[in-house]
Amino acid sequence: MASMNDEIVIMRGINKSFPGVQALENVDFSLKKGEIHALLGENGAGKSTLIKVLTGVEHPEKGTIKIEGKEVSIKSPQNAQMLGISTVYQEINLCPNLTVAENIMIGRAPMKFGSIDWATTNDQAKKLLLELDVDIDVTQTLDSYSVAIQQMAAIARALEVSSAKILILDEPTSSLTTHETEQLFNVMRKLKSEGMAIIFITHFIDQVYEIADRITVLRNGNLVGSYETKNLPRLELIAKMIGRILTELDDMSKYKLESSQHIKSDVLLDAQRLGRVGSINPFDLELHPGEVVGLAGLLGSGRTEIAQLLFGIESPDSGSITMNGKVIEDFSPIKSIGRGVALCPEDRKVEGIVGDLTVRENIILAMQASRGWIKYLNSSDQNEIADRYIKLLNIATPSADQLVKNLSGGNQQKVILARWLATNPQLLILDEPTRGIDIGTKAEIQKLVLKLAEEGKSCIFISSELEEVLRTSHRIVVLKEKEKITEYSGEVAERKIMQSMAGSE
């Protein structure tokens, strides 16, 4: 029975691009009074850009926004607040060393005789929190309370700021326990019953089905669709989030089948009950030369954590890794490189490229690190290596001396790949190697992975795109909520894996 009047926010045809990326393309979104609306999509889908447009942080290139039927242009976060839009961000942006009351009332504390009237300030803060069913001493510092309470304080502040009508919660539950999450949901239900429109961003599917009335799915900057939660089965939702890319890659499966004959029976790496508290529950994993093992699971399921444990970014606190028959005792990237392990990390900008160095220097970096400081590759060797990989991987750069930060995302990714191929690894771990790069390059990288396997290397392939994992992997490990659920080998139906990823139903 949704009449037009119920829709407090209507966004139409929103376009926003950043250098090299179309972050949002013709996206529509609407939000009704008194509903909880989940905004879903994998990394890079455009969720945060859409929120930033709505909160005035980013300005769309095209498209219209209507708030309560009136067309508006939201110029700044302050402007958004005046329109009744309040946001609680993923990282709690409050001051932990101030009191709860100060945090809630900061900037708007009532004054008396030219100074802050603390008694009234504390009273008001207390009252605001009581409305959220939180009864605490507001004169204690914020960091003396749990993350959940801090989250509540953030919400109280958001409500205080702007007599809010629209509340945006960006991954509010990612650091909460089950009980704390329940507490937050109660608050959300209460606000909803008072007519608040709530946008809820999360990657926990279970929570979406627990609390959301409607779901909007984005993928690669495009709107997939908006659905009533009760009409959208989980499996369908996951399929919509993960998507499938339309390519001419059908020959890949044949290629994969051929390459699977090269898998050797000896064990390259054997992880037994390997785990680390807080990142991944103990799991077993066996890798063979010539094999590509895919890790499937939603964001936060423990994919990256496995990669980082195997490469020595983090040390495990339980279990063991045996590589080539030897038990590994020292965990660090440099030791792993020495053992022939390579990790192409998930976050290209932060963990991958060294922006102000040249393509050449970026390519030789890991190789040089493993050679040590004294055996410096002279410039002709460096150039030869760089040129070889620029050619092999088709890296589009004017020269090897170009700063890597000036390259496009896909080419930066290839530079990182080159860095690791240059170390001639036995085990290559690729964490989201195709994220944010164009389809052509994706296909190149997938083919490369299979080719490397054929040469006898072992690969771990991690991707948010299930179809991609299926296409490249001989064996698939399914993860859910920091736990290895199961393993499939050979030809597996996409549906089966999605069912494992989704858990119940």
Binding site: V354, D356, L357, E361, L365, Q368, A369, R371, K375, Y376
Partner: protein, 361 residues
């Protein structure tokens, strides 16, 4: 054809990282040429060369040494505020080792004469230098441990030694300014062999450091850590060790600078040796174009930067600006140089020079 080639090379020159430091140095020298008569006069006495230019190189040697160490530290994304204080520590240790008797209240007669003997030293010169430089390296190591392993912010971490260092230097000499009579030591700072001795030292140190950073992978690792420490860690570079190395070398060079300074003025003056020189060193590095956030560095550009600082000081003294006012003038020079470096001003210059380029082509 020839014309277009020359314009291409011109662009290569203006885009070189040495271009702006050189321009800054030339501007200072141009000022001298116009306003100070006989500034460039060079005199040969007893086969040695003297003159204002030589003096800039000689007096600049301390700042150059500091700037070399500071370049490495800044390239890792840090800063070392303690180098001036480390200079004072080095000077105190050296002076004490050469002449511990100075501190005694009453001396037997046979020793009293020895104390001011220009040929007397208690510890041999090599031992004096070795211990001094080891201690100053340890000072640097201390900074490095605080910053790399203690994860303290560089500015705060090195501030500790900056403040404590002068106190330590005072403690070493019991608060006494020890005069240095031993001539071979003084020769290091004020001696001449055609050119001033400090100049040879600087050239030697520069060459070794350049080889150490550019003919091994140390330079690349330092730059990589400075640009993106996390990516470097993922690539197998031990960023903690790299930082430790940079701070230790910075301490070592500060020790050398302390030796030069104390040898030059023939005293261990814990209050004044290296006073505020850390700022000159930082500015020298900045003028040399190394960014304070870390990354790419050029040792040679830092040397030029140090010479800009020293040339300014020497010029101001030459036209008779009182020492206290020199600081103000230095401030103005640094301001002008950094103006040249700002992207806005460069953009402006590019726009002005753009039509010319078209004529060239």
């Amino acid at each position: 054809m020839r014309q277009s080639k020359s314009s291409f090379e011109w662009r290569k020159i203006t885009e070189s990282r040495l271009f702006f430091p050189f321009i800054a140095l030339l501007l200072v020298l141009l000022f001298d040429l116009v306003f100070i008569r006989g500034f460039f006069a060079i005199e040969v006495r007893d086969g040695n060369i003297y003159g204002n230019l030589i003096d800039i190189l000689r007096s600049g040697s301390t700042v150059i040494l500091l700037a070399l160490g500071m370049t490495l530290v800044i390239a890792t994304g840090g800063v070392d505020l303690s180098v001036g204080a480390v200079m004072a520590i080095a000077a105190s240790i050296a002076a004490l080792m050469m002449n511990p008797y100075v501190m005694a209240k009453e001396l037997p007669e046979n020793l009293q004469k020895l104390v001011s003997d220009p040929n007397f030293t208690y510890a041999p010169l090599w031992a004096v230098l070795l211990v001094t430089l080891i201690v100053s390296s340890l000072c640097g190591l201390w900074n490095g441990i605080l910053i790399a392993y203690g994860k303290i912010q560089p500015m705060v971490g090195t501030l500790i030694l900056m403040i404590a260092g002068r106190g330590i230097a005072q403690l070493i000499t019991n608060g006494i300014r020890i005069q240095i009579f031993y001539e071979p030591y003084a020769f290091i700072g004020n001696g001449w062999a055609i050119l001033p001795i400090p100049l040879y030292i600087v050239i030697l140190v520069f060459t070794i450091l350049w080889l150490f950073t550019r003919k091994t992978s140390i330079g690349l690792f330092i730059e990589s850590v400075g640009v993106n420490a996390r990516s470097s860690f993922f690539s197998g570079i031990d960023q903690k060790k790299i930082k430790l190395l940079a701070y230790t070398l910075c301490g070592l060079f500060a020790g050398m600078a302390g030796v030069l300074a104390s040898a030059n003025i023939k005293t261990s003056d814990a209050n004044n040796i290296g006073w505020a020189l850390e700022l000159d060193a930082i500015l020298a590095v900045v003028i040399g174009g190394t960014l304070m956030i870390g990354g790419r560095f050029s040792l040679f550009a830092s040397v030029i930067g140090a010479l800009v600082m020293q040339a300014t000081t020497t010029s101001m003294y030459a036209i008779g600006v009182p020492p206290n006012a020199v600081l103000a003038v230095k401030g103005v020079v640094v301001f002008l140089v950094l103006l040249l470096y700002s992207e806005q001003v460069r953009g402006l210059l590019r726009r002005i020079s753009a039509p010319k380029k078209e004529v060239h082509l």
